[in-house]
């Protein structure tokens, strides 16, 4: 039973703190964060500017290392990884969706989506890559634009490509940072629909947003204030 329960945990953070040191100043960005995300969860993290949302998302995504605490992804300790080990874990376990899409302008839509597979430890063959990319593009309904360059697409379309890219390696979790921040409301809604649909189909999602309307779309809503989690109501339900 216990084993089963652990298998169901996508992410577990215990007592995570992050301190930024600049010359004489120490900023406690996060203090004692405890967070568990189960497989299939859809979590939103919201809070005012400067509360530590982005820092938390960076730590979750192994883009930065915590000052203290432990962090497990699918049971694997990722608290103390080298830069290259972190890269490998990001590649296989984490899918990123950024506010500004971060697509690479010189690459076609297809190549943008395929990019994580090219950095994969066991680089798949051409055929596998092709199938997997098309599969992911289908999930975001973008199969008709594979040879376009990102700047030929609308913002909403670009963000859907970014979602396809995040899905391509079958990550344990999608980390989503203000996905609608650079979009008009119609495109924003479309993107949120895609995310909701993905979660329906079993994808674990953790989203940072300051837009209460979209935060509410998540099943679990965390509020962050001054580097600490303010409310964890739904987590208790999950437990």
């Amino acid at each position: 039973m216990n084993q089963n329960k652990n298998n169901n945990i996508a992410i577990k953070m215990s007592n995570i703190s992050k301190i930024f040191e600049t010359q004489a100043l120490e900023t406690h960005a996060l203090t004692d964060i405890n967070l568990t995300i189960n497989k299939g969860d859809y979590i939103s993290i919201s809070g005012p500017s400067g509360c530590g949302k982005s820092t938390l998302l960076s730590l979750l995504g192994l883009l930065d290392m915590p000052t203290s605490g432990t962090y497990f992804i699918e049971g694997e300790d990722v608290s103390q990884l080298s830069l290259d080990q972190a890269a490998e874990t990001r590649n296989s376990k984490i899918g990123f969706i950024f506010q500004s899409f971060n697509l690479i302008d010189e690459l076609s839509v297809f190549d943008n989506v395929a990019l994580p597979l090219r950095y994969h430890r066991n680089k798949p063959n051409v055929e596998t890559i092709k199938n997997r990319v098309n599969e992911c593009l289908a999930q975001v309904s973008m199969t008709h634009r594979t040879s376009h360059k990102p700047n030929q697409l609308s913002g909403g379309q670009q963000q859907r490509i970014a979602i396809a890219r995040a899905l391509v390696t079958n990550p344990a979790i999608l980390l989503v940072d203000e996905p609608t921040g650079n979009l008009d409301s119609k495109s924003g809604d479309q993107v949120m629909d895609v995310l909701a649909q993905l979660n329906e189909n079993g994808t674990t999602i953790c989203m940072v947003t300051h837009d209460p309307r979209y935060a509410d779309m998540a099943k679990i809503q965390l509020k962050l204030l001054d580097g600490a989690i303010l409310t964890v109501p739904s987590l208790q339900i999950a437990n």
Binding site: S54, S58, G61, L62, L63, D64, M65, L83, D84, A86, A87, E88, R90, N91, S92, F96, F98, Q99, S100, N102, I104, L115, P116, Y119, H120, R165, T169, D177, E178, N182
Partner: protein
């Protein structure tokens, strides 16, 4: 107008404040620009003086140098040198020249002076001072209207001589100076501002000018039409109505006819011909130095290109930095022209500061040129901060100012500026197009490869010559020459042999290991006409008079036969007395090979007989391995004949770690005789260094240029690549976030720029091949297979720099958590 100035001063103030914010940008631009501009101004002024500036003498365009060229039977020509009778015949039998200045260059001991210094004395005809309009510090010049045969011994001191040897003696006029046993009355001192025409060689400065007729051409040489003298120079003012070609046509036949008469009795000159060559004095002084100065100019222009490309990079990066300021300025209503004015003000300030420092660098460069390269480039004394330097400085600075301001202006994307304000700042950051970045990399690599390779090939060529072994031992040798102070007394002539006595006196010095009664191996050879008695074949080998211990002392290997013995050394003062047809000679293998039929051993040359003019017939008794003079690529034919017991040229071998001072030698000689003064005393190693002077100058110049090029190219490539990496920061961050490892990112950047580097290298190969085809003749001697590894080395160097320029800027991003690259994009 007032408004214009207040707007100008506002722009300058703004620019100054703005530049204060970016000290590293200012430092990089000013350093690069001032070094480059300094080098450019220095070389440009040198080139201007050498190639274009009129000589600083009146009627300079009509001054000509007259040369006497002998063409041998086989059509080859001798160096353009006069024989004394030819020169005097020409002086007395011509109507084309209005003024004639003859000079005979010499080196003698000033015996009237307490420290008996050796001085560069130049015998000149009366018109010499008039022709070059020598300004006088004191007294007067030689009277112009006296006959060339004037026999009043007079002297004019150079300003430096008057200062150094006579302590600025205001009462020097009327005193006498004595060279050998002739006392010359000092009639004047030339002014410091006088620039002596460098007629005999670059950098030559006469110390004393003496009355022509006292020149030391021997009574025999004054009548010998075949004996050419490298110290005789003929300069004249050509009539305005005649061209140099007309003068040559008119003078050659009569001089040739007279010369043929003069040498009729000597079979050696059968089939020879004499021509008179008249050339502009300016081009005669420039002679073959034109090529070196053009090469130097090309090198410096290459540097300028690299520097411009570097600074262009810096300005482009600066524009990216200024984007926000410009956007805000635009938002509050700044027009395009006003933004340009700001850029122009910034660019002007930077170039002005660079220019000021460049002028200092150039002035330092002039001093360095004058002190170190006076013997390489003629007329460097005239290379000073001139109107030419200043106007070209202003011209270049203005050009660069406009170029960089326009470049900056072109880089501003005015549409993007407005977006910058409307949008959230995402995706509208100014980016330099890939094409511009690539072309900057391509040009940097191409120019740097060509320059580095060119300089390295000249550098290694010079180094090869410098390090080439001479083939004999020259360590711990001192070359000593004496000269007579006066005519010997009868007692001295009849008394014991002074050469031997001086030799023994030197040998008695504790630090001396051995003394040979010969000039040192590096002190040169005398070209003498030699006739093979059996075949009547003529040749002009270099001849040296040596004693019996010479070859063993310098360890020059004997290939066949024997060395000289003591009994071979001549006993007479001048002539060989009684042994005229029974003298011996040792030749080098180069000469032996000319005598020996193909395939036969060198021994064949032993016993062969050579006649050396009236000195007599010599029998070859030995063959030595030829020695190479430093800085010379081949071993010419040479012959060695026994010196006389009276010879006062000595080569002294010192014991290890010992030194010998001038005073010790003078004391040793004075114990034996008062007839001789020490004429010259030089370490053979020092002579070796002097002979390699031009190679060392080449090595230093090309080495410096290569280093500067590498430095500038490295800075430039680093600049453009670090900028382009900075521009790709978010892309790199994204890739890292998606799981790219450090190696993946390094590969990405390296491969991305590889194409540009390869194109640059291909262009450099095309340029090099083009240069080789265009200058095939001049480069023939240095183009060979050994250049291939050097070229590979150049490519390796440039690629290494390019790789590091790719990798180093990346370290900031790939050695930190991925967040640092992404930060700011969110």
């Amino acid at each position: 107008m007032n408004l214009f100035f207040s707007s100008l001063s506002y722009s300058v103030k703004q620019a100054y404040k703005s530049l204060q914010q970016t000290p590293s940008f200012v430092f990089s631009v000013i350093t690069t620009m001032s070094i480059t501009l300094g080098a450019l101004l220095c070389v440009l002024t040198l080139a201007y003086v050498m190639l274009f500036k009129p000589l600083p003498y009146p009627d300079a365009e009509h001054l000509v140098k007259v040369d006497h060229i002998m063409t041998k039977k086989d059509g080859s020509r001798t160096d353009p040198l006069f024989s004394y009778p030819s020169m005097m015949y020409l002086v007395n039998n011509q109507t084309l020249f209005s003024d004639i200045a003859l000079s005979s260059y010499d080196k003698q001991i000033l015996t009237s002076h307490t420290s008996q210094p050796t001085m560069l004395t130049t015998y000149v005809t009366p018109a010499w001072f008039e022709l070059f309009q020598v300004p006088m510090e004191l007294g007067r010049a030689f009277a112009k209207d006296v006959d060339i045969k004037n026999d009043v011994p007079e002297a004019v001191l150079s300003f430096d001589t008057w200062q150094q040897a006579f302590n600025n003696d205001e009462n020097i006029i009327g005193k006498t100076v004595r060279f050998r046993d002739v006392s010359f009355k000092v009639i004047g001192v030339s002014a410091q501002s006088f620039i002596e025409p460098q007629l005999i060689k670059a950098g030559y400065k006469s110390q004393v000018w003496l009355t022509w007729d006292f020149n030391r051409t021997s009574a025999r040489a004054r009548k010998d039409w075949g004996s050419i003298n490298e110290n005789l120079i003929f300069v004249a003012k050509l009539d305005k109505n005649n061209s140099t070609a007309q003068a040559e046509q008119q003078l050659s036949p009569s001089v040739n006819a007279k010369w043929q008469e003069g040498v009729a009795s000597d079979a050696f000159y059968d089939g020879w011909r004499v021509d008179i060559q008249v050339s502009q004095l300016k081009s005669a002084i420039l002679s073959n130095h034109q090529q070196s100065v053009l090469l130097l100019l090309a090198g410096v222009f290459g540097l300028v290109l690299i520097a411009c490309s570097n600074i262009a990079n810096l300005f482009i990066a600066r524009m990216a930095q200024l984007q926000k300021t410009l956007a805000i300025s635009a938002a509050v209503g700044a027009k395009k022209s006003q933004l340009f004015k700001l850029l122009l003000a910034e660019s002007s300030l930077l170039m002005f500061a660079s220019l000021m420092i460049a002028l200092i660098f150039a002035s330092v460069g002039f001093v360095v040129l004058q002190q170190n390269l006076a013997q390489v480039f003629p007329r460097v004394d005239e290379v000073v901060l001139s109107t030419f330097t200043l106007s070209s400085a202003i011209l270049f600075a203005t050009m660069f100012t406009l170029f960089f301001a326009l470049l900056g202006n072109k880089m501003i994307n005015y549409r993007a500026i407005s977006q910058h304000l409307h949008g959230s700042g995402k995706g509208v950051d100014m980016q330099i197009s890939k094409k511009v970045r690539y072309s900057l990399i391509v040009s940097q690599v191409a120019i740097a490869s060509v320059l580095v390779f060119g300089n390295l090939s000249l550098f290694t060529e010079a180094l090869k010559v410098i390090n080439e072994p001479v083939g004999v031992n020259t360590a711990n040798f001192v070359d000593i020459d004496f000269s007579t102070k006066r005519r010997p007394t009868q007692e001295e002539i009849d008394g014991p042999v002074l050469g031997t006595a001086i030799k023994n006196s030197l040998l008695a010095l504790p630090q001396v290991a051995a003394v040979s009664n010969s000039q040192s191996p590096l002190s040169g050879f005398y070209e003498m006409a030699l006739t093979n008695v059996a075949t009547n074949e003529h040749m002009l080998p270099g001849v040296k008079w040596i004693d019996e211990s010479y070859f063993q002392l310098i360890e020059q290997p004997l290939l066949a036969g024997d060395y000289f013995t003591v009994s071979d050394i001549r006993e007479g003062f001048t002539g060989p007395e009684g042994k005229i047809d029974n003298m011996v000679m040792i030749i080098n293998d180069t000469l032996a090979k000319k005598v020996v039929p193909q395939g036969a051993s060198l021994d064949y040359a032993l016993g062969k007989k050579f006649k050396m003019d009236e000195r007599g017939v010599f029998t070859v008794i030995g063959i030595v391995k030829g020695m190479k003079m430093p800085g010379v690529s081949n071993i010419p034919v040479r012959a060695y004949v026994p010196s006389s017991v009276h010879s006062i040229s000595m080569t002294v071998k010192l014991k290890p770690n010992q030194t010998l001072s001038r005073e010790q030698v003078i004391t040793a000689v004075n114990e034996v005789t008062s007839l001789f003064a020490l004429f010259s005393m030089k370490d053979v190693a020092e002579i070796h260094q002097q002979l390699l002077f031009s190679e060392r100058a080449t090595a230093i110049t090309t080495g410096t240029l290569a280093l500067l090029t590498i430095l500038l190219a490295a800075l430039g490539l680093y600049g453009i690549l670090s900028y382009s990496t900075q521009m790709r920061r978010y892309e790199i961050g994204t890739r890292l976030a998606l799981g790219a490892k450090r190696r993946d990112i390094v590969n990405l950047i390296v491969f991305d720029n590889l194409i540009a580097v390869i194109i640059g290298i291909i262009i450099s190969i095309v340029i090099l091949i083009g240069l080789m085809m265009a200058f095939n003749e001049q480069l023939e001697s240095i183009i060979n297979v050994s250049l291939l590894p050097l070229f590979l080395l150049t490519l390796l160097l440039i690629s290494g720099i390019a790789f590091n320029a790719c990798y180093l800027p990346l370290r900031t991003y790939i050695n930190k958590p991925a967040l640092y690259s992404l930060r700011g994009s969110e």
